[in-house]
């Protein structure tokens, strides 16, 4: 079941095609990564989903039906270009923004106090926003995005401006939101975070989707059939290289505690068959398939699609 889908969305700016028949499928209750180099059209797509701008053609489906103006109340949006009222007190403006999203004054207050405690920014409740550091402002902004517990959360580059500790905190919160059943779309260049938290991705390059699907499935698709094994010193030194049609040894290195061997198998051979073949020759300490990182996939795909 897809919570949000776009179907052949086209958006043309004067003299420049921002989105060319973009279709994405965001499953309910999952974290969806919207990836792509700068200027690929991610933000435009997000704005179309948010109904800030309209597609020239194509459709957006929200919760199984075509999206309606009222749907924006079920979306929490953290734009890449952050901003809050500088001269307004932090707590006051968080309550205001929460109220605009439909919470009652009382409810907004209770929930905000909870979040502020969680993020350790309670002492700043009565400070003006301009007195806060940038990271602190980002936290406030994040809280105002999720406060009305929308079904769909959209984060555009959520980690920019955060130190590693706070980025970790944020990551934890995003995963918790997923646990609570929210659907999350999140746009980023940070591939490491994609691998950690995304279930599905779509990679946009030059206004088109060039790659999409489940993260694990994509990794499988891009696998190189490379393996690293570690074997004991005895079995390693007893090994004599001999031709076989199943795998070939690329590299072999001796370490005090054993040999590390890199090998490539034929695609039709399954992992357990390979393991069986290897275990007849070696005393195996470690067996690992080398899957490409999202970073490599990203760079490969983007440079190929040029």
């Amino acid at each position: 079941m897809y919570f949000l889908e776009t179907e052949d969305v086209v958006k043309q700016y004067s003299g420049h095609l921002a989105l060319n028949k973009v279709s994405i499928h965001v499953p309910e209750g999952k974290i969806f990564g919207l990836l792509g180099p700068n200027g690929a059209g991610k933000t435009t797509l997000i704005r179309i989903i948010n109904r800030i701008t309209a597609p020239d053609s194509g459709k957006v489906f929200f919760d199984g039906r075509e999206s309606l103006p009222a749907d924006i109340y079920q979306i929490g949006y953290l734009p890449e270009e952050r901003g809050l009222y500088k001269k307004m007190k932090v707590g006051e403006q968080a309550v205001y923004l929460a109220q605009l999203k439909g919470l009652s004054y009382h409810e907004a207050n209770t929930r905000l106090k909870h979040w502020f405690e969680k993020f350790g920014i309670m002492p700043w409740w009565n400070k003006k926003l301009e007195e806060l550091s940038k990271g602190m402002q980002q936290k406030v902004q994040f809280v105002t995005t999720v406060i009305h517990e929308p079904k769909l959360l959209i984060f555009d580059e959520p980690f920019s401006g955060f130190d590693p500790v706070n980025a970790e905190l944020l990551k934890k919160e995003i995963l918790e939101l997923k646990q609570a059943g929210h659907t999350v779309i999140f746009s980023t260049h940070n591939m490491a975070s994609v691998e950690e938290i995304c279930d599905n991705i779509a990679l946009i390059n030059h206004s088109q989707v060039v790659l999409s699907g489940e993260v694990n499935e994509i990794k499988q698709r891009y696998k190189t059939n490379l393996y690293t094994i570690k074997v004991t010193v005895e079995s390693g030194s007893a090994y004599h290289e001999q031709e076989n049609k199943y795998y070939s040894v690329i590299n072999m290195k001796e370490f005090p505690d054993g040999f590390v061997i890199q090998l490539k198998k034929e695609p039709e051979l399954s992992n357990s068959e390979l393991l069986r073949l290897l275990s007849s020759q070696f005393e195996i300490i470690r067996f690992e398939e080398e899957l490409p990182s999202m970073n490599e996939i990203f760079i490969n795909t983007v440079s190929q699609s040029k």
Partner: protein, 439 residues
Amino acid sequence: MNNLGLIIKREYIQRVSKKSFILLTFLTPFLLAALVFVPLWLASIKSDTAKTVAVFDSTGKYASLFKDTEEYRYIVPDKDIEEYRESPDKEVFAFLHITGDLLSNPAAATLYSEKQIPMGLKKEVDNVLSDYLKEEKLQSFNIPNLQEIINESNINFDIKTVKWGEDGSEQKSLVEVAPLVGLVMTLIIYMFIIMYGGMVMQSVMEEKTNRIVEVMISSVKPFDLMMGKIIAIGFVGLTQMFLWGILSTVLISGSLYLFGGGVSSEELMAAQMAVQSGGELATGQTSEMALQIQEVLNSINLKAILSCFIVYFVGGYLLYASLYSAIGGSLDQQEDAQQFMTPMIILMVFALYAGMYSMDNPDGPLAFWCSLIPFTSPIVMMVRLPYDVPIWELVLSVVILYVTAIAITWVSARIYRVGILMYGKKPSLKEMLKWLRYK
């Protein structure tokens, strides 16, 4: 609470609790009070030393005409004028030298001084001599009772204007006072728009400069945002005006009470009136005029005019504020704002002129059309109102005004939303039209 209410509340509270707002609200009445009292106070200061003017009158006819005033003291010295010229006496400011009969030879009098002779002194001397010479001339005709005849022939005609009511009843017409009522109301509308319209523009730009615009747009309808700001600032304006009114009244009457020990407040008021009207109105005339105004005010339908005033005041503010919001919505930089104020001011000045010309002919084509065109109608219609405008015209003009105001607000909301997506690109006309349709 719905979003519009929330927006109004935030905008209002933020603006009213600003330091600059509080400062201005409380300082302006002091300025206003100063405006009333400083001229009065200055006028009441008498220059401590009257300047001496020496009169040399060889005819002996004129010297006695000059009576000492607060500023000048006239003396008839025993020395000759040539002596003064050679050894200047610092005590004497000016010398009036009359050498012959002025009626036959007007050039026989000269005013000398070592300094520049002030206008006031020359005028005083001129007046004294003219009055005397005029009388002397009249006497020379040898006609008995000439003075009385002249006084009687001094006729000042003032025609009575009467308007017939529907049933033929007579109502005192209001050639002079009626437009005054309209004009005062017009000026209030005009001032209000100028003062608070710019604030609307600033406020609309606020989201952009704070970069909160995307969050706002994904939370509220831009129309609500615009309307909320316009309404909130309208209330801010009313609050400020109201406070100014109260504070000024308190200040002025308070200081009148304090300073008024020697001078009664009526005297002060009369003096103030005299200052304002350049001394043309004597005290007696003032009260007569006030009576007249009172009479006319009673005769016109004050209730109807006041309610129309409120309708046009609100409508006019809404319209111009919506224009300002459209400008604010399409601008990215504060610096550009100033330039766009000019066309607005021109539009309003035009409205003001149209209003003034309509006063001469309140049922003419200019007045008629300008009271239908929304940009001029709040001002022109206010001027025309005391002259019984037909109901259908009134209704039509109000409807056009409000519909235009709301339409412009709606359009400016669209502009605002498109504005954030432009990133320096110029939207094509086709794109703009498409935008106007998208919800």
